[in-house]
């Protein structure tokens, strides 16, 4: 561990930064996102608790309220806050008090969605925009704004900014990229021939009016900036040079206190997934170079996020002068105490963002492997040690569920031992991360392994435990986390099929004419297809679902779709695998289209099937009668992460977590264990 004051004085990330009267105590911030915890458009207790955890963790600036709406025709369509009404002000006052108490600055993002809204949401008002050009992602064709609309919206921006100021915030940012201001800036979306369209100067007019109006309303001390794309990156869009000129113009005329720089466009899944918030398998901090050039030219403080997922990338971006504040938004969703760990010399204990993008899914802001994020009122980021007796806890299974159970139990102070049947930790995560772009997933396992080593948990490998082995250990608590085995459940011919794990583990060589049947919409089937395609197989992909990767986040879905298109893998949707037969030349897969109920026969030499897993529960079943709770988990205590009931009988309590209960996913495996063991 390094000396604390040495870190503070030398680490570029821990140097303070000042904009006007606001001091940021270090260079680490979180950028605005619609975090999914808003209630009725307001930031209430759960919303504030989520952000407060990061302030406790020591970040300098928290920007919140992604795409907060300034007026009624910018509706709440993805859990945005409503800054168009005074109702929000008392909540903001509460919020800013909390954050300031921890020394964090607080700013909000205010916007009008323009054509990015939805005419069938909220008050059912038409969406508006500079020109009636359809927005691909959010689907609306907007009304062309007239002078009255423009005046109204410009005033609405100012009123919203004033509400933020009255709420005690330190500043705000407007949103150009993809939102109304950016829709005026871009030649693709602005086809006007009046003074608001045509030349770049005309297209900037709306942005300048907005910012002048805001400045007039809030005065000089309040910080006002803009989230701005340095390059739309699409044909016919606003390129780097024009973006730079526009930014300079805006700063000259209306004065920007900062630019929150992004790269790319916003109105397609591809752009969001590859440019705005890229995930696993993409390079770290991909845009810092053009952002750095932009910063030098505009001469205004620059904030930037976009896969600055780890401390080293942030340190590089700041120390090379490419950005002033490093937006480590998802990194702090994974670990809200990131800054504190950096400051006290335990950087290597930071829970890593592996880029799974779970925090961008409908389950946001929960991190794939930090289920406490977004659930701060019921789950702990720092596990409180037990105030009761120390117990001997045995965990069987070294996958995500078992590792988390061991970690949390050890943090509670109990004496923990973990038994893993194979040579390595990881379970299905080990299988799912090997040999593909999903390699970083193993970070989930590696962080826990390091934590268990730090917590001095005894780990035993190559130990397949049976009931006698467990009973010999004389434990107080036994947690079974033995996961599952691949399930194949078709009418006939199961024995002729191969499961996805065998392909991914290289247990079975890939055939020449291969059919991959995806019965879950999760990762294993496309992973197997990727492997088969790499082995040169002639591949057919059949899915029970309408589209590829239905259970995945939009970023992961897009990535698979792109790969399938590029590799020319034919995708057959909404089709069920009925059975497999053998004929003289190989195998016959019998398929049935779920829409027409027409059957079809496909001739292949290998059928790879993905249908989730079946629990490996023999050990659990054998241990039940020896336990004092018959292996029963009290559902209410479990759901609230409260202590499980105690039993009068002698012996151990037995619990089961993860896929050994039923086939689910990494998040629930870890959530199961966190909830069970937090109050152990």
């Amino acid at each position: 561990m390094i000396e604390s004051n040495l870190i503070d004085s030398k680490d570029p990330l821990l140097q303070p930064f000042q904009i006007k009267g606001v001091r940021f105590k270090n260079r680490i911030m979180s950028t605005s996102h619609a975090c999914g915890l808003e209630e009725g458009g307001l930031p209430k207790a759960g919303y504030q608790a989520y952000h407060e955890e990061k302030a406790k963790g020591g970040l300098a600036l928290s920007m919140f309220g992604g795409s907060s709406n300034i007026d009624r025709d910018s509706p709440n369509i993805f859990r945005q806050l409503n800054v168009g009404s005074d109702e929000i002000i008392p909540h903001l006052i509460d919020f800013s008090e909390k954050m300031h108490r921890h020394g964090a600055a607080l700013m909000c993002q205010i916007t009008h969605l323009g054509r990015r809204g939805d005419p069938y949401a909220g008050d059912w008002l038409t969406t508006i925009g500079p020109s009636p050009v359809r927005e691909t992602l959010h689907r609306s064709i907007p009304k062309e704004m007239d002078e009255h609309d423009i005046k109204r919206v410009v005033e609405a921006y100012a009123k919203a900014a004033v509400r933020c100021k009255e709420g005690g915030l330190d500043g705000i940012e407007t949103l150009a990229a993809g939102h109304l201001i950016g829709q005026f800036l871009s030649p693709i979306t602005n086809r006007r021939s009046d003074k608001y369209g045509g030349s770049l100067e005309n297209r900037c007019r709306f942005a300048i009016m907005v910012h002048e109006s805001i400045r007039n309303a809030v005065g000089d001390d309040f910080i006002v900036g803009i989230r701005f794309s340095v390059d739309e990156g699409i044909k016919g869009g606003l390129g780097f040079e024009e973006s730079l000129t526009a930014a300079k113009m805006l700063h000259e005329q209306a004065g920007l206190d900062f630019i929150n720089a992004v790269y790319g466009s916003m109105d397609s899944v591809r752009a969001l997934a590859e440019e705005n918030m890229p995930g696993m398998g993409t390079p770290l901090a991909p845009w810092v170079k053009p952002i750095g050039i932009f910063k030098k030219e505009v001469g205004v403080p620059v904030f930037h996020a976009a896969r600055i997922a780890d401390i080293s990338s942030a340190r590089f971006a700041v120390s090379e002068g490419l950005v002033d504040m490093a937006g480590m938004t998802r990194a702090q969703i994974a670990d809200p105490h990131l800054v504190a760990k950096l400051k006290n010399g335990t950087e290597e204990q930071i829970r890593p963002c592996v880029g799974a993008t779970h925090c961008q899914s409908p389950y946001r802001p929960a991190c794939l492997h930090n289920p406490a994020t977004g659930r701060e009122r019921t789950l702990q980021h720092s596990i409180r040690p037990t105030e009761g007796a120390y117990k001997k806890v045995i965990v069987i299974g070294g996958g995500p569920a078992g590792l988390e159970a061991a970690r949390v139990s050890a943090e509670r102070g109990h004496q923990v031992s973990l038994y893993e049947a194979t040579q390595d930790l990881g379970g299905q995560v080990h299988i799912g991360s090997t040999g593909s772009w999903r390699r970083d997933l193993i970070g989930i396992i590696e962080w826990r392994q390091a934590e268990l080593e730090r917590l001095k948990v005894n780990m035993h490998f190559n130990r397949f435990m049976e009931a006698e082995d467990v009973l010999e250990l004389d434990a107080d608590v036994v947690i079974v986390a033995t996961g599952g085995l691949p399930n194949i459940d078709i009418l006939y011919g199961e024995e002729l099929c191969v499961n996805t794990w065998d392909i991914l583990n290289n247990q079975v060589p890939v055939g020449k004419e291969v059919l991959v049947y995806d019965g879950t919409g999760r990762h294993p089937a496309p992973l197997a297809a990727e492997r088969a395609a790499a082995a040169g197989a002639n591949l057919k992909y059949v899915s029970i679902d309408a589209s590829l990767g239905e259970e995945l986040t939009y970023v992961e879905k897009m990535r698979w779709k792109k790969m399938f298109i590029e590799k020319g893998v034919p995708f057959t949707p909404e089709t069920r695998l009925i059975g497999v037969e053998r004929n003289d030349s190989g195998l016959v897969a019998v398929l049935c289209n779920e829409i027409t109920l027409n059957e079809q026969k496909v001739f292949v030499d290998q059928v790879i099937v993905e249908q989730g897993s079946v629990p490996m529960d023999e050990l659990f079943k054998d241990l039940r009668k020896h336990s004092c709770n018959d292996g029963v988990v009290d559902l209410h205590s479990f759901a609230e992460a409260l202590e499980q009931p105690a039993y009068d009988k002698q012996g151990f309590t037995l619990y089961r977590v993860g896929d050994s209960v039923s086939s689910r996913n990494i998040h629930t495996a870890i959530l199961d264990s966190l909830r069970l063991c937090s109050s152990l």
Binding site: T422, F461, E466, L485, N505
Partner: protein, 250 residues
């Protein structure tokens, strides 16, 4: 044809090795152990021979403490048929292991014995060669390819100059090198089944072999810490330092 594979329990290659405070040995407390990587390759090759129908049975053996049974169970999960554990807590030298294996060879009469070329803890690269000498069998070491044809085996060896292929009459001893194959992972269902495969435990005394080491370990030290480098301000300064400080140029 029966194939005998010998394996060793070593510290997992991923582990960061720590020396004990008193320098008497490497710190083994709570350290992750594993099958020696070259032994994994040996097991894999034997299992492949069985899958191809060349081997009828794969017998795996190890000399080591009780915990070494874990490695035997792994080998059984990977496809070996039965295991023999020669249990001892002594630090056994290559010669002692070779002598014990020679006794096993005598008892089991395998057509082929496959071992890893060396263990990653001791790096001796002796056991296979000593076993060949003790049994009077032919040896093909550092194998990157093995081809059994009738009562001969062709072994392609990795040597300094390139590759050398030798033809040995069976029974023969082969030691594995890195490029021979890529070992498979043990599947959970096979790990379960392996628990039921036969594993017999013996002691060195059962074979009449003395395993007490004639070599004593005096001291273990970490390699010298790499000193930090310095930045120089110019090429002239660099040349000056290389000449006068590091003394690597005249």
């Amino acid at each position: 044809m029966k194939v005998l594979v010998a394996v060793k329990r070593v510290i997992d290659y991923n582990v960061k090795i720590r020396v004990k405070a008193d320098h008497t040995d490497v710190d083994l407390t709570n350290v992750k152990m594993a099958m020696n990587p070259f032994c994994e390759i040996a097991v894999e090759e034997a299992v492949r021979l069985k899958e191809r129908g060349v081997a009828s049975e794969v017998l795996v053996a190890t000399v080591g403490p009780k915990a070494a049974q874990e490695q035997l169970r792994t080998a059984l999960a990977l496809g070996a048929d039965r295991a023999t554990h020669v249990q001892t807590d002594e630090r056994v030298e290559s010669l002692a292991v070779a002598k014990l294996l020679a006794k096993l060879v005598e008892a089991e009469q395998p057509g082929l014995v496959i071992l890893g070329k060396q263990a990653i803890d001791t790096d001796n690269n002796q056991t296979g060669q000593m076993l060949a000498a003790l049994t009077g069998l032919a040896q093909g070491t550092f194998a990157s390819e093995i081809k059994v044809e009738g009562d001969q085996v062709q072994v392609t060896r990795e040597i300094d100059g390139g590759l050398q292929t030798v033809e040995l009459s069976l029974p023969a001893i082969v030691t594995t090198d890195l490029r021979l194959n890529e070992p498979r992972y043990a599947k959970l269902p096979d790990i379960m089944k392996a628990k039921k495969k036969p594993l017999e435990t013996k002691t060195p005394a059962d074979f009449g072999i003395e395993v007490a080491s004639k070599v004593s370990l005096l001291k273990v030290e970490s390699p010298a810490e790499r000193k930090g480098g310095i930045k120089v301000g110019s090429v002239d300064e660099l040349v000056d330092k290389l000449k006068n400080e590091a003394k690597v140029i005249a």
